[in-house]
Amino acid sequence: MFEGADAVMDASAGYVTEDGRQIGGVLMEMKNITLRFGGVVAIKDISFDIREGEIRAIIGPNGAGKSSMLNIISGFYTPSEGSVWYQGAPRPPMRPYEVARMGVARTFQNIALFEGMTVLDNVMTGRLTKMNAGIANQALWWGKARDEEVANREKVEEIIDFLEIQAIRKTPVGRLPYGLKKRVELARALAAEPSILLLDEPMAGMNVEEKEDMSRFILDVNDEFGTTIALIEHDMGVVMDLSDRVVVMDYGKKIGDGTPDEVRNNQDVIDAYLGVQH
C-alpha cells in the first residue's frame, strides 16, 4: 500500500502534516478497484486511501482515468471489481443521491450549475438533502417548510460570507465569469456540509489570480470546517502546494503515491509527464 515517509501510519493513528495539522484515520479506502467499459479498461487494480482531514490529490496525464476514479468515489460509477470502503465498512452499490446523503459532495469539471437561477438559489440546492418538509407545506410556505428554509438559508449565508460572494448573491449564474462560477459550485458543494469533498479540476481555465483565490479557499475550507478533500488537478504547482498526499495515475494504473516531494522525485511519474524515449 502506501510507502512513504509516514509509512508508520495505520488505519487508526493518522499522521501530522508539515504545517502541523493532525490528520485522522482512514475515511475512505479504494480496494483493488478495476473499471471496465466493455473492452476498455479505464482503471486497473488501484488501491489507495483517503484520511480524515487531509487534502488528497489525484493527478495524471489526460486519459489516465482520474475523473473515472472520482466518479467511483462519488458513487456515479460502480467498480467492475474491487470495493470502496467508507468509514470502515464496504459501501454497497448506491445511487448518487444516496452517496450524497452519506456526506460526499462534489464539483464538476464542466461546471454544472443552474444557469438561470441566482447564486443564492443554486447554493440553496446544496441543502436539498437537509430538507424534508412535505410538498404541501413547501407549496404553501408554511410550518416546517418555512422553519427549514430559514435555518438552511442561515447556513447558506455563512458559506456565501466564507467564500466572499456576497456581491453576486442575487445574480443569475449565467451572467457570471468562469472563475466565479467555479466558486459558486464550491459553495453549493459546501452547503451540503460534506464530510468528504470531491473537486474535479477546480482550477481549470483560471488565471493566476483566480487560482490563488481558489487555492486559498480550498485551504480555508479544509482548515475551518475540517473537510476532507479529494481533488483532481492539472496544475502541478497548485497540486504540490495544496495537497498532503498525491496519487499519480497513468493509463488506468497507479504509478505513484506519497507526499508531493516523493511524487516529484518518482522516476515513473517524471516519465509519465515528460515522456520517455523508446
Binding site: R153, E154, R169
Partner: protein
C-alpha cells in the same frame, strides 16, 4: 458609588457622548452592518455595552493611558467601537489606511509606537506580522474576523470577541479603573491621531483633540440641521478625517445611525438598500455613477431613451432653480413633477439617493456637468473645502447658494484670510494640536496665533463672498515668459471629459505646457465596444489611433476654454501623450486618496517629459509596475506624441499690468 462625572456631564469626550446617547436614544439604532445577507443592527444602549466590554478587555490586556492603538480594516461597527473603546481607556486610536502596503504601514506603526494593533482580517494581520520584527513597541494584535486564523500562533494574537468576553468577565474588578480613566477625559485630551496621505514626503501624524472634533462636529451638524434619525453609509477609509467626523463625530453628537456595507463590492447595492439621508462622496464616485447611468441608458430601448433625454433636458433647465427655491413657472413645475414621477424618482432610487437631504463632495474639483446632473435631479449636493488639520471643515456651501466652481463660505466658527501670495489661511476650533513628533512641521504650518496655512491658493469672489480655490500654492508657478502656471486648473478641465481619468500637466519654468493623459477604461472601453474596436489591454486601447484622435479633440477644446481666461491663457497644452499604464497608488504615483504626486511622476517618467519637449514624434519606454500582491514587473511601450492646436489668446494685456 460617588463617581464625579464632571467631564462626562460636560460632554467633552466621545465616551461621554456615548453615555448620553445610550440614555437619550437607548432604543434607537446606532450602527447597522449587513452580514449574512441581513442588516444587523445595534441600538445605542447595545453599542455602549459592546464598547464597555471591549474597553475592559483592553485594560485587562494591560493597555496604559497614553498608549497608541492602531486600527486597520474596512468600515465595520466593531472597528468604530474600537476607536471609542481606546479613548475610554485613555489610549489614542490611530486608524490606518487598509490598502497601505507593509512598508507604509511599518513607517506609521513605528512612528506612533503603537503597542496594540486591532486588525480587521487575515490580510491585515499578515501585513503586520510581516513587519513586526522591526516594530519595537508592538506587543499585541487583536483581530476581528477569525477566518483563516486558526493555525496562527496566538501568543500575541487575540480574537476580538475573546477580548470582549474576558473584559466582561473581569468587569467587577476593572470597571472602577475604566470609570476613573474615562472621567479624566476632557476637551484637551487627544481624540484621535490621523496620518495625512502626504503628496510629498513621509506621512505626518495629525493630533486632534476632543475640542477639535466635538466642536467641529457640533458646528457642522447645526449648519446642516443633522439630527438623530438621519442615516449615513460609512464606506470611505476609516483613516481619513472625513470618515471620523461623519461616522463618529457627527454621529455621536447628533445620535444618527451609521451603516456599514457588507463588502466593498456590495457598496452600491447597500447604498440603495439604506437610502442614506446624509451622504458624502468624492467627485470620482459621482462621476463613475453618472458614467454608468449614461452607458446603461445607451443600451435602453428607443422609447425609454427618448423619455429619459426629454425629461433630463427639462431637469437641467429648471431643476437647480427649484432646488434653490427660486421662482419657476407653474407649467415648468408641473412638468418637473411629472419628470420626478417618471424619471428622476426611479433614477434617484436606483442610485441610492432617494432620501438624500444633504450630500457633500470634496477633495477634488467636480465637473460642472456632473455637479449639475445631480442637482438637477433634486439631490442637494454641495461642496465643502477642508483638510485633516482643520478637522475637515474650512468652508462649505449653505443651502441655496451652491455652485460648482466655488467651495462656499467659511464654516461656523472658522476664520479665513488670504495671504498676499494668494495662499488661504484659516483659524478655527477644529485647528489641529500638532504634528506628532514633528515640531518643525507644526511650526511651519501653524503660526503662534493659530493661523494654519492650507497650501492652497485661492480668492474670495467679491460679489458672493464665496471662496474659490485655484490650485495647490506650491504647484502654482510661472512659465518661462512669466505668465501664471496653474496645472490643476487645466487638469480639472481635462478630467471633466468622461474619457479622461487623470491628467498631469507640465510647464513650470518652460515656454509651453504639455500633458500626460490617462484614459478612463470604462468610458473608452465602452466606446470601443460600440465601434467594434478590438483591444487586448489597457495599453493597446490607450495607444489606438482613434482614441488618440478623440483625446486630441478634448485637449483642443480645453485649450479653447483656457484661452478665454486672461490670467491662465499661457497654460494651453501644446503637446501631449496618452500614458501606457494607469497611474496607481501602488506604484507611488498617486496618494492613497488618489491625488497626483506630480514630482514623483515627473521623475519616474523623465524620458517621456523630455520627449514632450524635444519635438520627437514617438518614444520607447519601459516602466516598472507593482502588482496587487507586491510582485514587480515591467511594461514596455512605444508612445505616440501628438501636437495639439492652440487657440489664439483673446487679449494680450494679461498679468503684465
Amino acid at each position: 458609588m460617588t463617581l464625579t462625572h464632571t467631564a462626562s456631564d460636560a460632554l467633552e469626550s466621545f465616551p461621554a457622548l456615548l453615555e448620553r446617547n445610550a440614555r437619550l436614544y437607548a432604543a434607537k439604532p446606532a450602527y447597522r452592518e449587513k452580514e449574512f445577507g441581513i442588516w444587523q443592527s445595534w441600538t445605542w444602549s447595545e453599542t455602549a455595552k459592546e464598547i464597555e466590554s471591549l474597553a475592559l478587555g483592553l485594560i485587562n490586556m494591560g493597555i496604559a493611558e497614553g498608549d497608541y492603538i492602531a486600527i486597520i480594516g474596512r468600515n465595520r461597527p466593531y472597528l468604530y467601537w474600537s476607536m471609542v473603546a481606546a479613548q475610554a481607556v485613555g489610549a489614542i486610536p490611530v486608524p490606518l489606511y487598509q490598502d497601505a502596503n507593509a512598508e507604509e504601514m511599518a513607517y506609521v506603526l513605528d512612528h506612533c509606537g503603537a503597542r496594540f494593533v486591532i486588525a480587521g482580517d487575515q490580510e491585515q494581520v499578515d501585513k503586520v506580522i510581516d513587519i513586526q520584527d522591526d516594530l519595537h513597541q508592538f506587543e499585541h494584535m487583536i483581530y476581528l474576523d477569525p477566518k483563516g486564523m486558526r493555525k496562527y500562533d496566538h501568543t500575541r494574537l487575540h480574537e476580538y470577541s475573546h477580548v470582549q468576553e474576558q473584559g466582561h468577565a473581569a468587569r467587577d474588578e476593572l470597571t472602577p479603573e475604566l470609570h476613573r480613566r474615562t472621567a479624566k477625559l476632557n476637551y484637551d485630551s487627544t481624540c484621535v491621531m490621523l496620518y495625512t496621505s502626504g503628496t510629498t514626503g513621509k506621512p505626518k501624524g495629525v493630533v486632534l483633540s476632543n475640542r477639535n472634533m466635538i466642536e467641529t462636529a457640533k458646528n457642522s451638524s447645526e449648519f446642516d440641521h443633522l439630527k438623530a434619525g438621519d442615516e449615513v453609509l460609512a464606506y470611505l477609509p476609516m483613516a481619513w478625517v472625513g470618515d471620523f467626523i461623519f461616522s463618529i463625530g457627527q454621529a455621536y453628537w447628533t445620535g444618527f445611525c451609521v451603516n456599514c456595507p457588507e463588502s466593498p463590492e456590495t457598496m452600491m447595492t447597500d447604498l440603495r438598500e439604506i437610502g442614506p439621508s446624509y451622504y458624502f462622496a468624492p467627485p470620482r464616485i459621482f462621476e463613475t455613477q453618472l458614467t454608468q447611468t449614461m452607458i446603461r441608458m445607451e443600451d435602453a430601448g428607443p422609447t425609454k431613451k427618448k423619455i429619459f433625454d426629454h425629461f433630463m433636458a427639462h431637469a437641467r433647465k429648471v431643476g437647480p432653480a427649484i432646488l434653490d427655491g427660486k421662482s419657476v413657472s407653474a407649467i415648468d413645475r408641473l412638468k418637473y413633477a411629472l419628470g420626478e414621477f417618471m424619471v428622476y424618482g426611479p433614477l434617484k432610487n436606483m442610485l441610492g439617493f432617494g432620501r438624500v437631504r444633504v450630500g457633500y463632495t470634496a477633495g477634488e474639483a467636480i465637473g460642472p456637468e456632473i455637479f449639475d446632473f445631480y442637482r438637477s435631479l433634486g439631490i442637494n449636493l454641495k461642496q465643502l473645502y477642508g483638510q485633516t488639520e482643520a478637522s475637515v471643515f474650512i468652508t462649505q456651501q449653505p443651502d441655496g447658494e451652491v455652485r460648482s466652481d466655488t467651495v462656499g463660505v467659511p464654516s461656523p466658527g472658522v476664520e479665513v484670510r488670504i495671504a498676499e501670495n494668494g495662499e488661504v489661511f484659516y483659524r478655527s476650533p477644529g485647528t489641529f494640536v500638532e504634528y506628532y513628533k514633528n515640531a518643525e512641521s507644526t511650526a511651519d504650518t501653524k503660526d503662534p496665533e493659530g493661523w494654519v496655512a492650507t497650501g492652497d491658493a485661492g480668492f474670495f469672489e467679491p460679489s458672493t463672498g464665496h471662496l474659490r480655490i485655484i490650485d495647490r500654492a506650491k504647484d502654482v508657478g510661472q512659465m518661462a515668459d512669466g505668465s501664471l502656471f496653474a496645472p490643476k486648473y487645466v487638469e480639472n478641465k481635462l478630467k471633466f471629459f468622461p474619457n479622461i481619468l487623470e491628467a498631469v500637466v507640465f510647464g513650470a519654468g518652460k515656454d509651453r505646457c504639455t500633458a500626460f493623459i490617462n484614459i478612463d477604461l470604462t468610458a473608452v472601453g465602452n466606446w470601443a465596444e460600440r465601434n467594434n474596436i478590438a483591444y487586448a489591454s489597457y495599453q493597446e486601447l490607450a495607444g489606438h489611433p482613434q482614441v488618440l484622435e478623440t483625446i486630441q479633440s478634448h485637449v483642443e477644446e480645453v485649450n479653447r476654454s483656457v484661452a478665454q481666461d486672461e490670467m491662465l491663457s499661457g497654460c494651453q497644452i501644446h503637446r501631449f501623450l496618452v500614458l501606457h499604464k494607469e497611474l496607481d497608488a501602488d506604484d507611488g504615483e498617486l496618494t492613497r486618496t488618489r491625488k497626483v504626486r506630480r514630482k514623483i511622476i515627473a521623475e519616474k517618467f523623465a524620458d517621456l517629459v523630455g520627449a514632450l519637449y524635444d519635438g520627437s514624434p514617438s518614444i520607447y519606454t519601459e516602466t516598472e509596475v507593482t502588482y496587487e500582491d507586491g510582485r514587480k514587473g515591467k511594461i514596455r511601450a512605444t508612445l505616440e506624441i501628438r501636437d495639439a492646436e492652440v487657440a489664439p489668446v483673446a487679449t494680450q494685456k494679461v498679468a503684465a499690468e
